[in-house]
Symmetry: D2
Subunit: 431 residues, 4 copies
């Protein structure tokens, strides 16, 4: 198996176009976000710029139905049935250059470049019997490797690749070779993570994950392999750990408290599966301005500030990947401060797994060792009333520091902290 | 609602190409079966000649995978996205004549002509944005009415039609207009009967049935509308009765006792839903030679003679449609006798519903009134040991006639009949 | 099989203590309701007085948990493990007389007497190894026939009877012999109708129904056999028709529009299963004052008057049993008028099945023949806006009479009636 | 939370009466097994003697139905609704001494003593309103804390305890106080581990586990808490780890290859949840003579010798608890050798988790660190054909020792080992 550590020694941190732009993002917008990141976020550890779904479709965003996926669209392909960027949206890709110019630009800023793909092969490539590139030059057409019964429930573009067919691995190898030639550092493969979604053939998704993992390994460029959508199935944890870096442990996450509250249970279930290049994925951070591309106007995140602290605290003690959902050039002061607290972000770079140490209806206590021998303690008030946290109840000794407020609090056993509803406390306790 | 009685005042009786030819039947074979029927079966009430699945595909039967459906095949369409016969298989259809010449020939024999279709619109018509014929001449293309998420689980050809779209009814109207112009008398619409099969949209199958029923009504030619596959959902009985003539109450039926035994439960459940142009469908009769087109050589039916008597007895007292599955020119003497017993076939033409009158683990008693005031009584031995039936136990009075053996048996209450395992007794009891 | 027609030639009409008194009704209250029925309702066809659940428990109603069922209560039994009335609540039963004195009184008013039982044998009879009465005098104790894994999900009193055990039929025979000796005319057997409720043994409920049906038949007194709770399973319709008179086609029904609206689908599903002593049961009529015994104070029915007309119209065209839920002595003028419209109640006494003739999202048309050759037409507005019904759309000819308003409306094809939301129109159309 | 490490620093190893004696074991048989263990197994690390189900029932084993559970049996209780040993089977318990004399004897041999209980409170205690011992002396009876809807699906003795009721914790505290007074070291609580089994109340099993865990903690004596039956639910792993030492990760395990093969998937799923006093449980080892108490005569294990090596290898690298199922005094030479290989048993006492390192249809490779810095490697041939294992493929370097055969094999990268079907290879590789 290839070294997943090489691609993702720590949870990836970056920006993803989906929460704000949906299917509509264009090259200038991507560059603007990259510029902002290089200027204001990079020094805090943020580095990935990821273009999400439908970048090959010239018309994406012009049809408001179906979440802006366009059924039977004839999006852009090269001569080998591989998607290429729509040049009207990504002008630098014209003339067969693909995402290379844009990736080069992003790399020039000291950042990394990622893209989204739907698993499978374009449906119309199969119906048109388009060519597939093979390692040995033998003739394979898309209809020979596409599975006509393997269709996404929510996106109309692709057929699953039938792993039993000659040419199936060639196809994926050719796709990732192309991405490597562009300079892609991160691939989010969609419609594949929750492997229980495929009733027509219970193993096809797992086998398709293996095809993809082998293609990543074979392409020669380190790439983070991220699988969506969730919820991933815990019984399949070994398979995910073996073949991917990230996998979504939740359905799409948005800015509502009930979703955030539910994430505590997801993290509980997956707590023993992070580390060593494996980063269970809690989805993007829906902060700041959101949803411009969804056809009903952008909105401000519906999370309160306390809820946003709770989110960042959980994500960082759990070491979830951090992918910002908002449009970075429009970042307000609060959100910027939220995303640039180095004492909090340091939790993402530590070596130890976190674990749930206490659970009641309203309170969660998560603990983790810091690399220097201290203990991170995250206390969450999930209830709708204020809560007093007594330091003595944490079972820790030493001196506590409040990481959000950058304050020394003294002997942890003498603490008495009032937590507002939905608010967290994040401490580093050292002897 | 259109008069279903006009098309099917009694359960249709005929021949269907599937059980013997699978996807491979050609024009000469159809004509040979029609000739045989006209010569030897028509006088006993048999009249339908039905061409089953894949008649538009020139290559059907050349690929042994997937039950000979060919993924991403570019089968024959006219300029309006409608399937037309493959001329290499149906030469008389060449030049845009469709099935009209063949239907004319079958009509000339005093028989009726039927075809199978998959519900929906060809997938490649959608991907190629082919035209749909509309009543008002407005422009609609296949991609505007096809539902990219509505795909069969077992056949790769079609997308379901999205009933919410403008042009959806036009499409089906145009399809049935074409069939009417050919002289089609019977249409078996597949992948639509078990309306619980469509998890992505629980109502789409019902709405698509309604589109089809309206198209049948609008086409101006009486046609039997038959829906497959089953098992149909008994909670939806009203919908099926309102919109169709026949619906499959079972999954595909083949020549194994366990399937035949299971049919007794299906008939029990559906017993109150036959009559008035509604004929719950127990699938074809797998008698004689079977399976030539399935790639592993033809075989003789695995049913014993007694099991075949049981099958015909159940089908006829239940008034199930009778569709012969074997190749008629190869009929042997036993099977011919089985299919031409006029005293038994008379049950298909009676007015009354049958009802289950007694049920134990091994015995079933079904009763029905004959049109002349007598009582049909069918006793089945479903057990694996011989069974003695006492006439007194039937709860009937009068004189009994054995319809299979054409013998008067005398006073029913004094009968004592030995039934072999899996054998039936079919009586007509008259005062 | 015994003649179900003898016991229930038409749908039973009467009063049931549950909706008002829950578990708490006492003898005086029963007598008061019987007196009222004899005086004011009997002449309109009402005749049954039915005592619902927990009449053997002296403490029923004293514990407000668990809907007033009392776990591990030692309710009243005779020496044969059979429940007898709690004498503190039913004084006339003292001294071993059971319900005979009360039944005699009700019979003296020209009415009929019914009781509720839970299926099975009292749990504590099994644990205490109490005696069961057997036909041949052999010794059987309750522990030998009780099934320790067959417990109700909602009532703590009984174990199911294991039909495979010697003595099982004896037990039920002894129970119904006792009821026959009391003069019981109607038995509502609970926790048995929805035969899918019993995952531990899928056939046990059906077999227990058969034990009970045989006991009813053997007891020598015609009794209506009514099974609860629902929803009954339509696949089991034949079994229910064969062994019972009434079976609940719905879960408990209460006075909310959503429940009433849902009943239209239940009636659609079961429409072919009424007649010949079989009366699918839509549960009690929650009219007037309700719920005194439920521990939060009585309330007036939450149905509007139009909704109550809709309920009575549906029940009567469907020929559902009519069981009044309110306390009769407290009947108000509107409710009394609703329950005593003889032109409407006449539908319950007709011979023909009704059928759903048209169905849209908001409108239902049900039709049925009247015994004198006319047609009953019930139109329902299930929508939340007013609806204009054109008589021409009904597909009927002749002169229409409005049965609720006792008015001749003239030529049905010229009608134009405005229906308020949730309101019905009930016509009798005659040539 | 109490220290689970104190009770079970390593996976418990011992003997359990169930596989051989079912419900029937008696005191002499227990003593004989203890004597054998002390004499021949103790020096290899075996120490627990566990009496499985039905020890309080004097008649257990006298009724061959229901796997010898006796419905409505009035098994032995003390005055506080607590089960005590049946004195006819355990004579030393007479006079209220409980299991203390037997436990003392077992302790005198240097062994530890365990018992099985069904969760809950005896059903007849609830129906008879028997007393429950409370900490404050207040009056509580069994009917006040028993949940009448919480019954096992397979054992008729108990009702679940309703954790919301006053007295519920008192009851369990009193039970474990009694066990502590007897000297119990290990309690296997049954009908509670798979917390999805309780549809009537999805949280009741979890809450009852918490009651029990608190009682174990409060009783003051270290006891191993073992939960059955499985399969435990991986989503609930945190709860099990927090409250128990052992939990069954499989349904009952018996001597058939399909069950052993399936265990590999169970261990895969649970591999990250062992250690720190948590020992996911693969059930007893069905070796040697089995099944005497099941009413059809004892039999020799149906596992081949290779399959038994596979079983022990998997259990030991996974660090599953080892509980011998056979009757020890009848141990044959092969089985004794299987159970006394100290190099293999040493794996149970190591500190590191094992992990699945490779998985194909037929091969599994599990690895674990040894405490001295080497690597344990277990290769399994799950296929039905012989398999050649190349040492180079293991990804390890150093010198290999075959732990089953006690042989040095030399450089691991040069190994070439032939594995028979269903046979394992267990290596210790050291630099």
């Amino acid at each position: 198996m290839y070294s997943k550590n090489a691609a993702a020694p720590f949870p990836p941190m970056g920006w993803n176009s989906y929460d704000y732009y949906n299917t509509m993002v264009n090259e200038q917008q991507v560059r603007d976000n990259a510029d902002y990141m290089a200027r204001s976020l990079k020094k805090h550890g943020w580095e990935y710029i990821v273009i999400d779904i439908q970048w090959s479709d010239p018309d994406a965003g012009t049809d408001n139905e179906h979440f802006q996926y366009i059924p039977f669209s004839r999006f852009c392909l090269d001569e080998w049935s591989r998607q290429i960027p729509a040049p009207n949206r990504f002008p630098s890709s014209a003339g067969g250059k693909g995402f290379k110019p844009l990736a080069d630009y992003i790399h020039s800023l000291g950042l990394k470049f990622g893209i989204h793909i739907m698993r499978g092969i374009p449906r119309y490539a199969a119906h048109d019997h388009l060519a597939v590139k093979t390692a040995d030059g033998s003739t394979v057409t898309a209809d020979r490797i596409a599975d006509p019964y393997s269709v996404s429930r929510w996106n109309p573009d692709m057929y699953g690749v039938d792993w039993t067919k000659k040419g199936a691995q060639d196809y994926y190898d050719s796709v990732f070779d192309l991405y490597a030639s562009w300079g892609v550092d991160f691939v989010k493969v969609d419609d594949i993570c929750n492997t229980n979604m495929y009733p027509h053939n219970p193993y096809s998704a797992e086998k398709e994950i293996e095809l993809i993992a082998h293609a990543v390994e074979a392409c020669g460029r380190p790439m983070v392999l991220s699988l969506s959508p969730g919820p991933a199935v815990i019984e399949k944890a070994w398979h995910l750990e073996t073949y991917a870096n990230m996998w979504r442990i939740t359905d799409d996450f948005w800015d509502e408290w009930r979703f955030l509250k539910a994430m505590f249970e997801r993290c509980e279930v997956w707590q023993k599966h992070s580390g060593n290049g494996n980063w269970p994925d809690c989805d993007m951070l829906p902060v700041g301005k959101l949803g411009y591309g969804f056809g009903r106007g952008a909105w401000e995140t519906r999370f309160t500030e306390d809820e946003q602290y709770t989110m960042l605290t959980l994500w960082s003690i759990f070491r979830a990947p951090l992918m910002i959902g908002t449009d970075l050039p429009q970042l307000d002061a609060f959100t910027l401060s939220l995303l640039t607290n180095d004492e909090v972000l340091a939790l993402e770079k530590r070596r130890s797994q976190a674990y749930l140490a206490r659970k009641t209806d309203d309170v969660r206590l998560w603990l983790a060792e810091s690399d220097d021998g201290g203990t991170y303690a995250a206390v969450f008030n999930l209830g709708d009333a204020a809560l007093t946290v007594s330091g003595a109840s944490l079972g820790l000794t030493g001196s506590a520091r409040d990481l959000w407020r950058h304050r020394e609090l003294g002997d942890v056993t003498e603490l008495n902290v009032q937590l507002a509803p939905h608010a967290p406390l994040l401490l580093l306790v050292r002897a």
